[in-house]
Amino acid sequence: MARGTLAVRDLSVSYGRAVRALRGVSLDVPEGTVTAVLGANGAGKTTLLRAISGTLPFHRGAVDAGTVRLGDRPLTGLSPSAVVAAGVVQVPEGRRVFGRLTVEENLRAGALGARGRRSVDRAGAAESTAAARERVLELFPVLAKRARQRAGLLSGGEQQMLAIGRALMARPAVLLLDEPTLGLAPLMAERIAETIREINLQGTSLLVIEQNAALALELSSAAHVLEVGEVALHGPSAELAGSDEVRRRYLGVSEDTPEGVAVSDAAAPSGDHAGTSGTPEASAGRPVLARWTG
């Protein structure tokens, strides 16, 4: 499903016209890759996904400036269903499966968004939905076993699988995952990670938000670190995993070697933005906070 790069440019978002949640954030999810976004609570990770999916109005938020594009198609300002129809589907934080619906019905609900696409006629849509279901059940055989069970009665891991499977029913070109391993046992988290790799191998690009930095850096080819609404660091994941700052802050490793790699340049263009002037820039030589070092 070739649709091009998901490109976020200079995105600024505020809630209730008062609280700035994102300031001039730019990042790319090149076609066929896994990109990770790291950051502490409140850094704006979930806001970023809301802005891409068009669900900010549910939280009284709005995009103040900047664009989101998929290939050459602008997504900014579209309704959530139009974003899904364009091929960008989100698995929200906390799974959010429809607990009172059966597993099977959850999957059907996931396929509803794909029906809005103009390119496919009815028969074609039914066929590709069947193909999508087959693929989902292949990825998560447990969902086939529990098809008639209410989703609310599944375990946390199974609910996460269902949430991912439900999103895949819309046959996304880009899948957005918000904290897919949050609250899962390590073994289950590892299984979810494997699935993410598998989904990527099958040709879907992924943007993964993950509080488990080690896992996220291992999965992704590139990563961005958000801090207080701005991209503080970004670069190839392997490089970031080797950088002292990331290791100290997010991987819980303390080493006393001096400053190494990958320092932000994404924050620089955002300085031109009227809305972001006056806010402290993420600076290159930002000292590592003492409390993070063990």
């Binding site: 549910f58 589907v89 429809f98 607990g99 619906l101 509803l112 968004g113 009665l153």
Partner: protein, 296 residues
């Protein structure tokens, strides 16, 4: 004994009609979390259009027009009033529907005046006798049509894409939007379906033994409120159970009024509300308005 059977049959039949109204009430609540106080006037619109048109175009087309108009009226309320009102609080929207109801009812009662309009139904006042029990044909028709519609609705709710979208949106609007479900469409559909069901109910509320459609018909429609509430506002099953309970209570209390002297006259009108209060004392969320068990 035959009186009892008769009362039960009548009660179930009227109850099925209340269930139709309550069902509309419940799906609006499920889809939009708005308690729709304008429901009685939607019903009145449907009934009025049928009553006005049946002489010229015949009963069935007139009924069709009534159903269509009520559905349209529901959809218009959704588009013109509720969608534009940008408020977070659903209680505010509920109050807005009271305003809509007052406006619509006022206009309709002005048009109806003091007349009692017939809806031109084919059953009139014929009575069939089955095993020594006389039952009005209208009651049988009401029961048959209401059961058919309710079954069709529940099947659609369960198996069609519309039903899945509706239930998904009712449970978690934001997650449903993330799946590409259009919430505006879901809500529009709920209002239109509720209007259509109310129009059918209008027919069966005004046929024999009721004299016809008059300004008090909307009060009769109000009895669907206790039905929806005692069943549980967010439960379709509850709407059905509530409708039947209210219908039966009303029918039996009215029928045995002689033996229930202590309740005074007109107890049949009050009894459904008493039942509602009793149910709510025991189950504050209504009979089926349950909190689901879920593992997190």
């Amino acid at each position: 004994m035959s009186t009892f059977v008769e009362l039960v049959v009548n009660g179930v039949s009227v109850g099925a009609v209340y269930a139709l109204i309550a069902l509309g009430f419940v799906i609006i609540f499920k889809a939009t979390e708005v308690v729709n106080f304008a429901h009685a006037s939607l019903l009145l619109v449907g009934g009025y259009v049928t009553a006005v048109l049946h002489d010229d175009i015949g009963f069935l087309p007139a009924l069709g027009a009534g159903i269509g108009t009520a559905a349209l009226a529901g959809a218009l309320i959704e588009v013109l009033v509720l969608r534009r009102a940008r408020v977070e609080n659903h209680a505010v929207l509920a109050i807005v529907t009271i305003g809509v109801d007052i406006m619509m009812t006022t206009e309709l009662t002005r048009r109806i005046g003091t007349e009692v309009l017939s809806l031109g139904d084919p059953w009139q006042s014929r009575i069939v006798t089955i095993g020594g029990v006389g039952i009005a044909e209208t009651r049988i028709a009401a029961l048959a049509v209401a059961s058919l519609l309710i079954t069709a609705f529940l099947l659609a709710f369960r198996y069609t894409p519309w039903g899945v979208a509706m239930r998904a949106a009712a449970e978690d609007g934001e997650a449903a939007a993330l799946m590409g479900i259009r919430l505006t469409r879901v809500s529009l559909g709920a209002w239109a379906v509720a209007g259509a069901l109310a129009a059918v109910a209008a027919l069966f509320l005004t046929v024999f033994p009721t004299p016809g459609l008059d300004r008090s018909t909307s009060f009769a429609a109000m009895k669907a409120f206790p039905a929806a509430i005692l069943g549980g506002l967010d439960s379709t099953t509850g709407a059905l159970a509530g409708g039947l309970i209210v219908g039966l209570t009303e029918s039996l209390v009215t029928g045995y009024q002689g033996q229930l002297d202590f309740m005074g006259r007109g107890a049949g009108d009050v009894a459904p509300f008493l039942v509602m209060l009793l149910v709510l004392l025991v189950r504050p969320a209504g009979l089926f308005g349950t909190r689901e068990l879920s593992r997190v």
